[in-house]
Amino acid sequence: MTPEENISKLLRLKRYEQPPPGYFDDFLREFQSRQRAELIRRPLWELVWDRISMVAPAFQVPRLAYASIAALALAASALIIARPGPQTSGNLADNSRPMLSLTSPNPVTIGESLPVATTSTGSPSVHYVLPTRPVSYVSSRSF
């Protein structure tokens, strides 16, 4: 008997095979319970990673990018925790350690009411003058 004839015979037999009674009734319930058991058995980080991976294709971001972001977030958290508390005026002068700053080192135009300040890099701020309020020290009805 050739292999083709064997396969044909097997398919004929399989056509008459039936599952035991009640099999389909329990199938879905059993599948879900097994799925839950599998989830409980897996470590938490693996679950989180699976969730992130599910979202990743939607943004079309390489999966490794998430690892980089997570690493950066961890580094930033560590830095914030490691930073000392607010300085008092007494120790400002002798602390020369560079600080993080949100001030742009580039020239900026600022509002008239805002003070002009130097940036943390030492480059001075630029202020283009044209105020909104008049200047005067006279009272309108005395001279």
Binding site: P107, T109, P115, V116, A117, T118, P124, S125, V126, H127, Y128, V129, L130, P131, T132, R133, P134, V135, S136, Y137, V138, S139, S140, R141, S142, F143
Partner: protein, 326 residues
């Protein structure tokens, strides 16, 4: 027929616009070299504004706010940066006068008294970090106060667009003469306030004559009288005994007609009259007392809030060793 009229009207409008544009361009080309960018460095940063040469020997008018606390001032003219001395920075008028040691072009000084509502004006200034730019508009009004605060003298409100960095720029009439200095913007910059050149020249005159500012004060409080007398409602309401006005014979209830030659119609008119008083220079005050017209000569003293009193205006001898104009 109608088509012909409309076409003619459109042609006339085009011609008007071309004439206007041509005139603005002509004045801009003629005077742009006399308009400068002012750069001032102080402890808090760098300030930029505009200014202009008022004579051929490097005298610059600019905005006081640029140089008021400056340690180092330079004037950028035609791409060249020239060191400048601050002769005076006057908070009362809002202007400063600088001196550059160079022969310079200049803008002629016009008669700001001739400016009236709807007079066409233009301005040349340096907006932010851009090149010198012209702006055109018309006079919208003559204001004595803005946002609840009084000017030191009547200011011209020009409906021409301005930007930051143009503080101190010259405002010119269509003869190409400076009629004022840009000292403040209105709203977001759709219009501006301009110190008339006559008021600016008072500052320069004081500086040239005395080496310092000499705003005069006679010590009169003015109030509105209920009925006008000879067209004026400005009445002397308070008078301290030791003030120049009292010493000269002015009395409570006198109706003011003229102060220093300037006509007075209401109590607010004393704003302009008092601005032009000079300490030490006699000023005539014309009054009505009862039914009698009188002229009283008063010698004003230095304004109590002037430099040397409350330091509202500052002459800076450390920055400008030569206080006289050359």
């Amino acid at each position: 027929m109608l088509g012909g009229i409309l076409a003619g009207s459109a042609l006339a409008q085009d011609s008007l616009a071309e004439n206007l544009s041509g005139q603005v361009r002509k004045i801009f080309d003629e005077h742009r070299d006399a308009v400068v960018k002012v750069r001032a460095k102080d402890k808090l940063g760098i300030r930029f504004g505009s200014g202009f040469f008022a004579d051929l020997t490097g005298t610059v008018y600019t905005h006081a706010g640029i140089v008021l606390k400056a340690d180092e001032v330079t004037v950028i003219s035609n791409g060249k940066e020239l060191p400048a001395r601050v002769l005076v920075a006057d908070e009362r008028s809002g202007i400063a006068i600088l001196k550059v040691d160079a022969s310079t072009p200049s803008i002629p000084i016009g008669d700001s008294q001739k400016v009236m509502v709807a007079t066409p004006v233009m301005m040349i200034g340096y907006p932010e970090d851009l090149d010198a730019s012209p702006s055109f508009g018309i006079v919208g009004g003559l204001d004595r106060e803005y946002l609840g605060q009084h000017f030191s003298t009547t200011h011209i409100r020009a409906n021409l667009p301005v930007q930051r960095g143009q503080g101190g720029a010259p405002v010119l009439n269509f003869d190409g003469e400076a009629i004022g200095i840009l000292v403040g913007r209105v709203d977001a910059g759709s219009a501006c306030h301009v110190l008339p050149m006559r008021a600016a020249e008072k500052v320069r005159s004081d500086l040239a004559r005395f080496g310092e500012l000499r705003p005069g004060w006679v010590g009169v409080e003015v109030e509105e009288s209920e009925t006008p007398v000879q067209g004026s409602t400005a009445k002397v309401g308070a008078l301290d005994p030791d003030t120049p006005a009292a010493v000269s014979g002015l009395q409570l209830g006198d109706i003011l007609l003229k102060v220093g030659g300037m006509p007075i119609i209401s109590s607010e008119d004393v704003i302009d009259a008092s601005y032009f008083l000079t300490a030490g220079d006699n000023a005539d005050i014309e009054i009505v007392r009862g039914s009698e017209n009188m002229t009283i000569s008063v010698r004003p003293v230095l304004h109590p809030l002037a430099p040397g009193h409350e330091m509202q205006a500052t002459v800076k001898p450390d920055v400008s060793p030569r206080l006289h104009l050359e």
